[in-house]
């Protein structure tokens, strides 16, 4: 087999074929041992004549998995041994073929899950091989990513406005896309809806980041504050008929109060104990919402929550007597997409407020005290910082932003029930924060795109999309254990060229 170019392999040594094969065989056997019981047999509801459960066997799948893992491992081992270019080409070829087949189904797809995993596997092998082939010896892609993170931080002043402009223009860009692909200019309702979903999680991520990323308190029950915000708006709107803009600050205040009430007893705890108790409190809120039927509507939830209005002008085709609808106000044709676009800008505004707050507070003594608490609580005490109050403010502020997001959620859905506030939501938000790189605002956006949009893009794969998602998460955490864009720039510089600030 031909070796790669001289530049990428400074020291040529013979490939240790026996070692490479041996390792791949061992890993293949491990796969066999794991896949045989888990994949090899399928229980069915029917039984044999004697009453034994009937098992379907799927040995072909097992064989496929073992061969795939064997080949993948072999490829990775070869990359490590210096055989890079051929492996890269072969992996990309396999990737392209499998992906094409998965989409077009020219050859009947015999098992979508296995094929999906194969596509991901081929991609990873291709990526690693190409990387090692093209990059100078000794640099890992993770180190390059560190540089990227630092660079993004340095160019934040350019990147942030560009990102903001893109976000502002997004609904219109979807319209232009439709125009460019031969249709009429029409804002894509689905795309903007997806944008709303994404921005909701970006905002929640930024909110949770205040507790987890800045103050260093691992909160597993963040969804509780999201729930408090959602129910606050729902109850205030339904019982008193208050509008969204009046309820929004109130929902924030109530969520912040919930944060203080829940935070107070747990702040003496540290680390894992703290995390477990917050997890418990998150569940308590959900269970109360489920069981306090007279107040919260119980498991049926609350429906008929007023939809948002454009500062009093509803988004309706036929507004009630004496009201002017949004489209009448501006003399437009009624379109359902108006409301979605309005919701999009609303959540964009809320998310930007969260971001602006975080960026600003990091430069204020409170934000610095949060970060100092994350670093060393005992040292903080010795400097006269009140750890209890400082932590409580972090809790309250993060809860407040959770509450804002919650009331947005309620007005968007028009319906809330405890179903929406399960632990999995907390876990998802936390995953965004951790994946993005704790404390990194841009990283959270990136992670939210991955965590929210990837499963949406993989929707084609039906039930296997979560499998693909899980594999993707594992790979990212192997590659970047501290998060995609983990980089902290000091909030204050002394020796920089640009002066103190």
């Amino acid at each position: 087999m031909a070796t790669a170019t001289a530049a990428s392999v400074p020291v040529t040594r013979p490939v240790n074929w026996i070692g490479v094969l041996k390792d791949a065989v061992i890993i293949g056997l491990v796969t066999l041992a794991l896949a045989l019981p888990m994949v090899g047999f399928e229980t069915t509801s029917s039984t044999t004549e004697r009453g034994w459960p009937l098992l379907n066997t799927r040995f072909a799948d097992v064989a496929a998995a073992v061969i795939a893992v064997f080949l993948g491992r072999l490829a990775l081992n070869l990359v490590r041994e210096g055989v890079r270019a051929p492996v890269a080409f072969m992996a990309w070829a396999v990737f392209a073929l499998l992906l094409a087949n998965l989409i077009t189904e020219t050859v009947p797809v015999w098992n979508e899950a296995v094929e999906t995993l194969l596509v991901i596997g081929a991609f990873v092998v291709g990526f690693v091989a190409t990387w090692r082939w093209l990059s100078p010896e000794g640099t890992t892609s993770s180190e390059v990513m560190d540089d990227v993170a630092a660079g993004l931080q340095r160019w934040n002043r350019v990147i942030a406005p560009i990102g903001l402009l893109l976000a502002l223009a997004f609904p219109w860009l979807t319209g232009l896309y439709a125009l460019a692909t031969g249709g009429e200019f029409a804002i894509s309702r689905n795309a903007v809806d997806l944008g709303v979903l994404l921005l909701t999680y970006v905002m929640l991520g930024w909110g949770l980041n205040i507790i987890v990323g800045l103050a260093g308190l691992l909160d597993l029950g963040y969804v509780a504050f999201y729930a408090v915000g959602a129910y606050s708006y729902a109850l205030l709107a339904l019982n008193f008929g208050w509008g969204f803009w009046a309820c929004l600050p109130l929902a924030g205040v109530l969520a912040a109060l919930a944060g203080i009430v829940l935070g107070f007893p747990v702040l003496r705890l540290h680390g894992d104990y703290f995390a477990i108790v917050t997890l418990g409190f998150g569940e308590i809120i959900r269970v109360v919402l489920t069981n306090w039927s007279s107040f919260t509507g119980g498991p049926n939830g609350l429906s008929g929550i007023p939809r948002p209005t454009f500062f009093g002008f509803p988004f309706e085709r036929n507004p009630a007597e004496g009201e002017t609808a949004f489209h009448q106000l501006f003399g437009l044709e009624f379109e359902g997409v108006h409301r979605v676009v309005f919701l999009y800008y609303l959540i964009l505004l809320l998310a930007l407020i969260t971001n602006l707050f975080t960026m600003r507070i990091r430069r204020l003594p409170l934000g610095r005290a949060w970060e100092a608490l994350r670093e060393d609580e005992i040292a903080c005490r010795s400097l006269g910082i009140n750890p209890r109050n400082t932590k409580l403010t972090a809790f309250a502020v993060a809860a407040m932003f959770g509450g804002f997001a919650g009331s947005f959620f309620a007005t968007r859905q028009g319906f809330v029930s405890p179903e929406s506030f399960t632990f999995i939501e907390s876990a998802l938000i936390l995953a965004i924060v951790v994946l993005g790189g704790m404390g990194s605002q841009l990283g959270i956006v990136l992670a939210a795109v991955l965590v929210i949009l990837l499963p949406e893009w993989f929707r084609e794969l039906d039930q296997y999309r979560m499998l693909a998602f899980g594999v993707g998460m594992v790979l990212i955490m192997v590659w970047r254990p501290r998060g995609l864009l983990a980089h902290r720039a000091p909030t204050l510089r002394l020796n920089s060229a640009g002066g103190g600030r």
């Binding site: 707050f357 600003r360 507070i361 204020l364 003594p365 409170l366 610095r368 005290a369 970060e371 100092a372 670093e375 060393d376 005992i378 040292a379 903080c380 005490r381 010795s382 400097l383 006269g384 910082i385 009140n386 750890p387 403010t393 902290r488 000091p490 909030t491 204050l492 510089r493 002394l494 020796n495 920089s496 103190g500």
Partner: protein, 306 residues
């Protein structure tokens, strides 16, 4: 300043009774700290004077750090009174105050035996965090600062100036933007002292500041501490094993052993005190086992020297 101690002040005197040197800054009376059955500090009384460097020495496990932890509010003493009198006439009873209030109001700052910086924050940020309470006030408890109202910018500029001043004093100006965790060990020690000084303390408690320093760094530390005493007028309370530091710069030395105070006086007095020599350096002619121990071990008295 040293050397004017009255000769009749013996090491066993109750501290307060015969104190007639400089005005007292910290008065510790009958301090006792028990952890379950273990008495870590047993009825210790001493005085640390204003504008003086007071060293607490003693073998490992003598209770020195426990005294510090009681002083700075990390432990609540089982018994005893800790009073701090600042030169301006304010008076605090430390044993009744919460830990962070001792630092904030009574202005007792401390460093730690195992350095406790904020490792992922920059050196400058470490010093700014130390001025938290002042800045918090200037930012209107964050509310005004968020909207850019009020004098926060000015206050922050002043805080940076103060930080620069201390960076200069400890020789870290060039590394101001480093992450504190990436500093070499000796720099971390000095940064911790600078951070404590940025809180504008009346009493600075240093827990083994010279541990792990090389002789040159140790000498620099001596100069820094003397300058903190003389130029800043801050009283220093020091736990130290490095005798070159203790004997070189202390005005007053207190010796603890097994939680009790066994000596109290000038460095010269303490160095020549037989009790101290016995406890701290071991018995005289310690290479010979006492006869009864040797008998227990079944060896001839002179066999132990081989």
């Amino acid at each position: 300043m040293s050397g004017d101690l009255p000769a009749e002040r013996g090491p066993t005197d109750p501290a307060a009774a015969t104190w007639d040197r400089v005005p007292p800054l910290l008065t510790v009376e009958h301090l006792t700290m028990r952890f379950g059955g273990l008495t870590a500090v047993d009825d210790v009384s001493f005085i640390a004077g204003q504008r003086e460097i007071t060293a607490i020495i003693g073998p490992n496990g003598a209770g020195k750090t426990t005294v510090f932890n009681c002083l700075t509010g990390f432990y609540r003493p089982t018994a005893g009174r800790l009073s701090l009198e600042r030169g301006d006439g304010t008076h605090y009873l430390l044993e009744r105050m919460e830990g962070f209030r001792i630092a904030r109001e009574a202005r007792v700052a401390r460093t730690f035996q195992n350095i406790r910086l904020f490792p992922q924050m920059s050196v400058l940020e470490n010093l700014i965090v130390a001025q938290h309470n002042k800045l918090m006030l200037a930012s209107g408890y964050t509310v005004l600062g968020l909207f850019g109202i009020g004098g926060y910018r000015e206050a922050e500029r002043a805080a940076v100036e103060k930080a620069k001043f201390w960076l200069d004093r400890v020789g870290l100006t060039a590394r101001a933007d480093w992450d504190a965790g990436n500093l070499p060990y000796g720099d971390q020690r000095r940064l911790e002292i600078a951070r404590a000084m940025c809180t504008e303390p009346a009493l600075l408690c240093l827990d083994e500041p010279a541990a792990g320093l090389n002789p040159r760094e140790s000498l620099e530390l001596n100069q820094l501490l003397l300058s903190i005493r003389d130029d800043d007028g801050v009283g220093v309370l020091l736990i130290e094993h490095d005798m070159s530091v203790v004997m070189g710069i202390s005005d007053h030395v207190i010796v603890l052993d097994y939680g009790r105070k066994i000596a109290d006086g000038t460095p010269v007095e303490v160095r020549n005190d037989p009790t101290v020599i016995r406890a701290y350096l071991g018995e005289e002619e310690s290479d010979e086992l006492p006869p009864e121990v040797a008998a227990d071990l079944g060896i001839a008295p002179d066999a132990g020297t081989q």
